[in-house]
């Protein structure tokens, strides 16, 4: 696409998300959400391929519907208390409609059905925008609402998300769909602490974004669109090792950084005495760990018999900009466990 148009659309995307994060009135929030949706549509659909256009359409319909639902949910609060302030929600109908709109926007279960379809229709760089950047604005809204009114809807949706993220990813052959279900499961882990200590959820969300971006950039670099292309991938061997480490960190194995995403919610649950919900989270994350390890197995631990003419040069990559970005994101997954003491400031 034209460089100027691309720069303009990315700038308005960043402006839209910033408008949502930094405002106290419902109108700039709705405006920012609409602006980010409208500015991302040309970025996703300019190639006019059938799959991209269909994914863009589904994404636009879901986001437009949930943005209209969000502002319509702020209006009962208006009739009851005459206030447009985000931090003063007094009517329970209003809280329910706004939470439902944010759950549809984020892709938490039971409103997750659009997310794997949309991610599987887009190339990997667009996937990074949809799965990582576009979650920032609704997640900030959801967590600031949880600061005021803690309700059980969030816990129920996060339990369902973790279980759906586990079981949904089992039978997939497309790497984008696997990463979509893993993203659904991870957002379940991120939002489950919102019922107890919402400030900690920001830390978990940051880890999720960094880890996911690293994996998606590596997949973009090697064009790993399907499980069958994982074993024939022509990435540099160190990238294959870092890919495996990033995936195991996403699965939550202990010495790696992604373990923070699992251990902090478990500590918060047991400190509050809610031991009953812990097995649901553990079962969901165990099943997702299985399909992460399946990807690791197909990438690094097997060597399919191949003709010597098929061994391509292992120094090709799709984009030269993604290598330094991958190199700066991967240390989070390796050394991230040293950031665990930050959590103990919040207890």
């Amino acid at each position: 696409m034209n460089r100027l148009v691309n720069a303009f659309l990315l700038t308005s995307l960043i402006a839209g998300t910033s408008l949502v994060i930094f405002s106290n009135h419902w109108f700039p929030i709705w405006l920012g959400l609409e602006l980010s949706t409208l500015s991302i549509i040309p970025l996703l659909s300019y190639t006019s391929q059938s799959r991209s256009v269909e994914a863009t359409l589904k994404y636009f319909l879901v986001q437009a519907f949930s943005a209209a639902l969000l502002l319509n949910g702020a209006v009962p609060n208006l009739w009851v208390s005459n206030s447009w302030d985000v931090n003063s929600i007094t009517s329970p109908i209003s809280y329910f409609i706004i939470t439902a709109a944010l759950i549809i926007k984020l892709g938490l279960a039971p409103c997750h059905f659009w997310f794997p379809d949309v991610l599987s229709g887009l190339p990997f760089l667009s996937t990074i925008i949809i799965a990582c950047w576009q979650k920032i604005a609704p997640m900030f809204l959801l967590l600031s609402l949880s600061n005021l009114v803690s309700s059980e809807i969030i816990i129920v949706c996060s339990i369902l998300s973790v279980l759906v993220g586990g079981w949904g990813g089992l039978n997939q052959i497309s790497v984008r769909k696997i990463l979509a279900y893993s993203s659904i499961g991870h957002l379940g882990w991120v939002t489950c602490v919102a019922f107890f200590i919402p400030e900690v959820s920001y830390l978990l969300f940051l880890f999720y974004i960094l880890n996911n971006t690293a994996i998606l950039l590596i997949c973009h670099n090697g064009s790993l669109y399907y499980l069958s292309s994982l074993s024939k991938s022509n990435v540099v061997p160190i990238t294959a090792i870092l890919f495996s480490i990033a995936l195991l960190s996403l699965g939550g194995l202990p010495p790696l950084g992604g373990f923070i995403n699992k251990v902090i919610p478990l500590i918060v649950f047991s400190l509050n005495g809610n031991n009953f919900i812990i097995p649901f989270f553990l079962i969901g994350s165990l099943i997702s760990l299985f399909f992460y390890i399946r990807i690791v197995f197909n990438t690094s631990l097997t060597l399919f018999p191949q003709h010597s003419l098929n061994i391509v040069s292992s120094r090709t990559g799709n984009s030269s900009l993604s290598q330094p970005i991958i190199s700066t994101l991967i240390p989070i997954t390796i050394w991230g466990l040293l950031l665990l003491p930050i959590f103990f400031l919040f207890i």
């Binding site: 269909e54 359409l57 636009f60 319909l61 519907f65 009739w79 379809d117 229709g121």
Partner: protein
């Protein structure tokens, strides 16, 4: 005022039902999306005239502007979709299931 806000919210729920149970055409889905935003406009205009905060009438016109932008983006996507899939029917938009 209770009857008034009940009528306005029933318009909103009609819009939601129209989006959810739509099975045939994409264009009717986009129309019900517009119904949601128009019901929002009516709601905010009525509230602002009852409670004497006339600045929100200005706000409602901005709301209409943005809903028009969104509708045009939806129509552009529908045109692009009908160029690639040759159809408007929701049952034929099924490439992404696999």
């Amino acid at each position: 005022m209770n009857i008034l806000s009940a009528v306005l919210f029933s318009l909103f729920f009609l819009g939601i039902i129209g989006v959810v149970i739509n099975r045939l055409h994409l264009l009717s889905l986009l129309l019900c999306l517009e119904l949601l935003l128009v019901s929002l406009f009516l709601n905010i205009s009525t509230w602002s005239q009852i409670h004497d905060e006339l600045v929100y009438l200005n706000f409602s016109i901005l709301l209409l502007t943005f809903s028009a932008c969104e509708a045009s983006a939806g129509l552009a996507l529908m045109v692009s979709l009908s160029r690639s899939h040759n159809t408007d029917l929701l049952a034929n938009i099924n490439l992404l299931q696999t």
